[in-house]
């Protein structure tokens, strides 16, 4: 069942999820997206430019966070506008060879605004890693029936 605009209220929570991230995930994202900046896969390069270590692509975090919205909306194409600011890097520890996550991204969403004329709902995402907000003003506008 896809949500309908008339049954939503501002402030309504849309649930949450935890996304486990490994260095392998970053290599996969680099390959899939074509973004091969070595700060996302090479420890020496990342620390050499002053980062705490290898960090996730901002676009990985943004792309993974919106899945909460896509799954709730029931159609990926319902997301007509999606924006964010990248405020903090997400360092991903090297856990090669064991099953542990190198970082965990916590995503939760709530209805931020409703526009009956446009037929859209704005979902505001809260995205944390290591207890810090890594995305700010992460907002997805969703077209609903």
């Amino acid at each position: 069942m896809r949500p309908t605009l008339s049954e939503l209220t501002v402030g309504q929570a849309l649930g949450s999820r935890s996304i486990e991230v490994t260095r392998t995930d970053l290599v996969k994202y680099a390959g899939a997206s074509g973004d091969f900046n070595p700060i996302h896969w090479n420890e020496a390069f990342a620390t050499g430019v002053g980062l705490p270590g290898v960090i996730a692509h901002g676009m990985f975090t943004m792309g993974a966070a919106v899945q909460l919205v896509t799954d709730w909306a029931g159609d990926p194409a319902a997301v007509v506008d999606f924006q964010t600011r990248f405020t903090k890097p997400v360092p991903v520890a090297d856990t090669t060879g064991d099953a542990a996550a190198g970082a965990v991204i916590e995503v939760s969403g709530a209805i931020g605004a409703l526009d009956a004329d446009a037929g859209t709902a704005r979902v505001d995402l809260t995205v944390l890693s290591g207890g810090q907000k890594v995305l700010m003003k992460a907002q997805a506008v969703v077209r609903l029936a």
Partner: protein, 165 residues
Amino acid sequence: MTINPDLQGRSYPAAEVYDVGREKIREFARAVKAAHPAHFEVDAARALGHSDLVAPPTFAIIVAQRADAQLIEDPESGIDFSRVVHADQRFVHHRPIVAGDRLVAELHVDGVRAMGGGAMITTRSEIFAVRGNEAGTEAGSEPGTGAREAVATTTSSILVRGQEQ
């Protein structure tokens, strides 16, 4: 090297065509840990009224970053890619991207602002779908002049850190 302030207002015309393939949509969807069946199964996408597999909401970054590369690799820009930090990103979809689309991106440099020893650069990619060789991939035709359909507008700000930052 400092950022060239004359970049503001510059445009780079649509260049090569990006062909959206089913396996690329599946690969990108897996890479962002997307599980919606409309990214993976054609029947699931068609049940939602789409002609083919639907790309995830941030898929257009592939096309946008290819367009951005024209600016970053332009020797006149003065941008050192190793000092670039992604500051913000927005996708406005005029219609969904689906497998089979042939996309081109027109890049516009909307803002260049000095920040400390570096600069904040805002770019916009207007992404269009084209048919056949209308993007001008054949010799003798002008890129981006054929019939085209607006698909997405992406905007991105990058911070190019100065040497002291």
